[in-house]
Symmetry: D3
């Protein structure tokens, strides 16, 4: 079993905000991350799949295929967008990295399953160089 | 003459948009950077000052003083903010890195002049790891 | 279960030295790391906790709380210090990264337990960009 | 149990090419990676071993010993070489990162076993900053 | 005058070799860089242009235009190629970074001049993270 | 004229301390950097020389020669050392980066002059990823 990873990036705006709470409660809990007029990040996304290398190619998965799936399913929906307002799969959800990484797993798992025997292993999402989250599908 | 540099960072949202142009013209020129609902970045700011080391301290400038000035004058005004909407010194200006770096120079030069004999030499601003601008005050 | 990580850094001096051994034996085993007058590093510390995102906040843990705990419990005790001489929790212990990372786990686990249902998952400590250690509490 | 890692690098040329296939099939599957005249990379290799710290040294393994083994067994055979043509342990194998990382594991495991009670845990190989593979020996 | 920079990358094989010299002389001068079967690198290319920001766009140059020119003129000719064998503009020249950076300047200066009033200022080429060259056109 | 740069690193302990001042004055000016028991850093040193590429080699300077000079003159004297106590060329001087970079220039200029027509252009010294100094010899 070999694990292979591909890093992609996107730039997006977001805001941490619970619509069931008052503005004061949001400010108190989320601090500057609740800024009414949004803020943003350069996100780095690392997708890891695992499987046995194909004897004919030496590949667990063709990285071009993996890259294309990530770009089509995730990057095109998030890059230069507002995560709270512009991204269909985040509607009605908190725009935190924890929630985002679970949704990214769900979309990639769905898109990769018909294409490859390799299985999704890990999603890592860097919000900044100093803050990042991991999700393993469970 | 020794040059000493300090790196600080801020996260912000922005949008490239010329209010004198139609929506179509903005889309055509700025592409996804004109996204109506904003996008954002982790900006890295490197400030360089030059001067002769003080014989008593070995310092061109006390980096704590430099860091405090950068934080007070620049980071507190930009971090977790919308550059177009929330930042007084960017009102009525294009929110491009080129314009931002000129304004950062102006504010830092003003704030540092009374504090030190060291002179501001360069401002470098990274919008992403792959795009950055430099300004030398002229 | 989502894993969330926060990176902090500190600068410190240390020396690898076993007081039960002769100077020669120390030199032989630890080489330049035994230098009598110390040497030092920019350490990078990555702390990972795991848990389920809170439905109201989208957070596994408030990163501000996590950052504050790391700073108070670990960074303030190690930054700009001599690990062998100045750090109470390292007294009588070898100042290697392997020992340091176990002690950091112990202190953070103790400090985080009363504050959060999220559990400490991993401590990673970079001594240099090329040397690092991980500890998972067992 | 503490995990300790050492990063080393090498520069090498390679080509993805299945000799049982036509030139056209190779181009179709491997794209520019099949370029007849080779291409190359700065590879980064991270080797992780795990074990209990020795009470006399605080070491899981002497990093100088680990570094020397990696350099002698792996780096000297790969650095400034052509992976397809010059590297004995890759003869008759696909020069993909997936295959390379398995062979590196085999050689390091063999070389480290007689020297230390620490066990090899993970091999990570970066082909570029954006593409990397991991192998855990099974 | 603002300076704006764009980073692009390419992977290539090369060999340092003077065809007027004996194999022995080449080995003596270039060491492992003369390896007959090539070696390779992940090159990072940073292109800096300078000019005055356009009042309508805030741009010194549209970075999309700059990126497209770099990709068309330079990256497509070098990426996944053998610098000695596959690259027309390097025929009959030493495949060192010093020579490469001069040729890159020549091609980019020629391609950018008709497109923009901004002038090429600097080309930086990283062969590895530790070795890089700069050229300013004179 | 091409500029070529080589990065090397060293780990060292130091302390900012003016022996003509009281302990209180030192604490006041240098803060935690005055810690009596030292602290330390992973320093990164980038040395840039400039010259015309030799037509036979394509080299401004043989990077192996440059690397060897930097290691012999600078790294061996600073690595795993105490800058205040162990380094002959820093005796009686403030152990700040500003002073260190001037001394490094002096030693390298002296060592390189008889070996090459290339001239030393810049010394950059990173104390941390966020603090660095440059010196151009004047």
């Amino acid at each position: 079993m070999v694990y292979i990873s591909r890093k992609e990036h996107f730039n997006a705006a977001h805001r941490l905000f619970n619509p069931n709470w008052s503005e004061e409660r949001n400010k108190e809990v989320f601090g500057p991350c609740a800024n009414h007029n949004w803020h943003g990040h350069n996100f780095e996304l690392i997708v890891t799949v695992k499987g046995e290398p194909d004897p004919d190619t030496g590949f667990v998965i063709d990285l071009k295929v993996l890259g294309d799936v990530i770009k089509r399913e995730i990057i095109e929906q998030l890059d230069h967008k507002n995560i709270n307002l512009d991204v269909p799969f985040m509607q009605g959800k908190m725009a935190s990295c924890e929630i985002l990484v679970i949704e990214i797993w769900r979309l990639l798992d769905q898109a990769l399953s018909p294409l490859t025997e390799a299985r999704l292993h890990q999603i890592r999402l860097y919000e900044t160089e100093r803050n990042f989250v991991d999700y393993y599908g469970e």
